[in-house]
């Protein structure tokens, strides 16, 4: 079982975002970067799939700047076998990103390509199904759990009102959402081992972004709220305000 997981370096979800001069990007100073959370779920799923199969290979692939080495190392420390860094600048144009990833994926013959359902920076929710379409492989999105048997992946797909059970023949592309388990922590041994694991680093294929960022703004402040009162005595007043002032009941 040959699995490639696409992961992205994104700001920690706790990070405060401020806009850089020029108004079209964020100010990276003081921002802590992590493996985008859904990408981490994807790595965890890949490792479990390999463990269940008893053999195989998990490669992590990213498009990013040189500091994305760290992102790959974090996944290697969790247990992935090798990393590939395509050096380049990801943009909000997910199709441009998908093309770069696909150019690399086509050099390999992965049975499974896993991605996160969305990246925690641009939140586009698109690269996975684009990769599937460009590769000409079936893609199942929003998968919270899956098992592979006899070349078929049986996936739990989270949709409004419930879970679909979806079967797909490998090779296939899956986008991973949160499921029943958390990503594993890297052990000290894992971190040491990761230092010796191979990372191939090369220039990303040049693909132009066709989704220009015109401007970035901080979201409008929510108008100052109000404490209606303390304890159960405030409940009737709250109900009245919701009906008469906010007009939402």
């Amino acid at each position: 079982m040959n699995i490639i997981v696409c992961i992205k370096r994104t700001p920690d979800t706790e990070t405060r975002i401020s806009i850089a001069d020029g108004g079209a990007s964020i100010d990276p100073s003081g921002v802590k970067f992590i493996v985008s959370p859904y990408g981490e779920f994807a790595v965890e799923n890949a490792l479990r799939t390999k463990e269940a199969a008893g053999d195989g290979n998990v490669t992590v692939l990213t498009l990013g700047d040189a500091s994305s080495q760290e992102t790959l190392r974090s996944a290697l420390a969790m247990g992935a076998d090798a990393g590939i860094l395509l050096e380049g600048e990801p943009t909000q144009d997910g199709l441009a990103t998908a093309k770069v990833l696909v150019a690399e994926l086509e050099q390999h013959e992965p049975d499974l390509v896993l991605l996160g359902v969305k990246a925690a920076d641009d939140d586009q929710q698109q690269v996975g199904p684009m990769v599937g379409t460009l590769l000409g492989r079936p893609c199942v999105t929003a998968v919270s759990a899956f098992t592979v048997e006899n070349g078929v992946a049986t996936c739990h797909r989270e949709v409004e009102g419930g879970t679909e059970i979806v079967e797909v023949m490998l090779p296939a592309v899956l986008t991973i959402t949160k499921g029943d388990f958390d990503p594993r922590y890297a052990s000290l041994k894992g971190i040491m081992a990761a230092k010796r694991k191979p990372i191939e680093q090369k220039e990303a294929a040049a693909v132009e972004s066709r989704l220009q960022t015109v401007s970035l703004e901080l979201p409008p402040e929510r108008p100052e709220g109000r404490i209606v009162g303390e304890g159960a005595d405030a409940a009737p007043e709250l109900a009245r305000l919701l009906r008469e002032e906010a007009k939402v009941l």
Binding site: D121, D123, E160, G162, G231, A232, A246
Partner: protein
């Protein structure tokens, strides 16, 4: 001059209400582009409600009704939509940012070789081109983006564009498409999550967190939801209570759960961690009930009660029940 195509999703043989929101947004873009609005719906029969899309501004309603589309398949549906969208004079194509729309739109974008703006909360036409606004960094910033290829594709976040009527011809026209054989995934079964309304679709969300102390206490929240009406209100949850196994993941709101934009959001016994806010900060009115006056949830709440939820919620439920019955 170019038109705007709205992909109108079906569920159980009917067009979904979110189509009306999309048509409303599409009207403003179509008038900026000097064209008109078309709707397209794909399934195995003409869905209930297709003939009513004209009331929201659809000039024509294109219906693909073919047994080959009886069950949803991302690969096949995308091929059909790309064929129609690519074959007409379309300046923009809008999908709903639902499970289906988010699955479909990126595939159509790849087939048409155009970029896609995901989870859009604002649309506009500037200098003859479509621009979108969309939250990024989990809502901590808002980006304005401009596609430089047409059609401009976007998924629009449900509940953000208020639907309004504006009559157009709405003539229903049947279209046929040829989809060549593609490798697809197959849905073999569906496990309904209790049949309750989904948190991402509800106009009121009653969300609970670790402050409820025990999963057995959720009857407090189901009672509140029922007093509001279980046809409009749904339960939501923080990650802490989902991870503890108290609530199903389908209810989780936040960074690693669902993004919701209801008219009214109750956060009960939820501290308001930044990852929770990521999923609900665009709600219309936010109510917080928490015993800790310094809980961060109060910073985004429009109305707050500082107090013990076990005392506050039952009284609030009774009050709302009474308001509802008294009119």
């Amino acid at each position: 001059m170019s038109n705007v195509l709205v992909i109108s999703e079906q569920r159980d043989g009917a067009v979904r209400g979110v189509s009306h929101e999309l048509l409303t947004a599409a009207r403003s873009v179509a008038s900026g582009l000097g064209g008109s609005v078309h709707a397209l719906t794909v399934g195995d029969s003409t869905p209930t409600g297709a003939d009513a899309l004209g009331a929201f501004g659809a000039e024509t309603v294109k219906v693909v009704a073919d047994d080959g589309f009886s069950a949803y398949s991302g690969e096949r549906f995308a091929a059909a939509i790309a064929e129609i969208a690519g074959g007409g004079d379309y300046g923009a194509v809008f999908f709903a940012a639902t499970s289906q729309g988010r699955d479909l739109a990126p595939r159509v974008a790849a087939l048409l070789d155009v970029p896609l703006a995901g989870d859009v909360t604002g649309v506009d036409v500037q200098d003859g081109g479509v621009v979108f606004t969309r939250p990024i960094y989990s809502g901590k910033a808002i980006a304005t983006v401009k596609p430089t290829a047409t059609p401009a594709l976007a998924t629009l976040r449900p509940n953000v564009f208020a639907a309004s009527e504006s009559a157009a011809a709405g003539s229903v026209e049947s279209v046929s498409v040829e989809v060549s054989d593609v490798a697809t995934a197959t849905v073999t079964s569906f496990e309904a999550a209790g049949g309750d309304m989904d948190v991402a679709e509800a106009s009121v969300v009653v969300a609970g967190g670790r402050g409820l102390k025990d999963p057995d206490n959720w009857n407090l929240l189901t009672d509140l939801r029922d007093a509001i009406g279980n046809d409009v209100a749904a339960l939501g949850a923080s990650r802490a209570v989902v991870d503890a196994g108290w609530r199903p993941h389908g209810e989780q709101v936040g960074q690693t759960g669902k993004t919701v934009a209801p008219k009214l959001y109750f956060a009960v016994g939820i501290s308001g961690a930044v990852q929770h806010l990521a999923g609900m900060r665009s709600a219309g009115t936010i109510v917080a009930i928490n015993k800790d006056p310094d809980a961060p949830i109060f910073q985004v709440a429009d109305y707050g009660i500082v107090g013990d939820l076990f005392e506050v919620v039952p009284v609030l439920t009774d009050e709302i029940r009474e308001l509802k019955s008294g009119g």
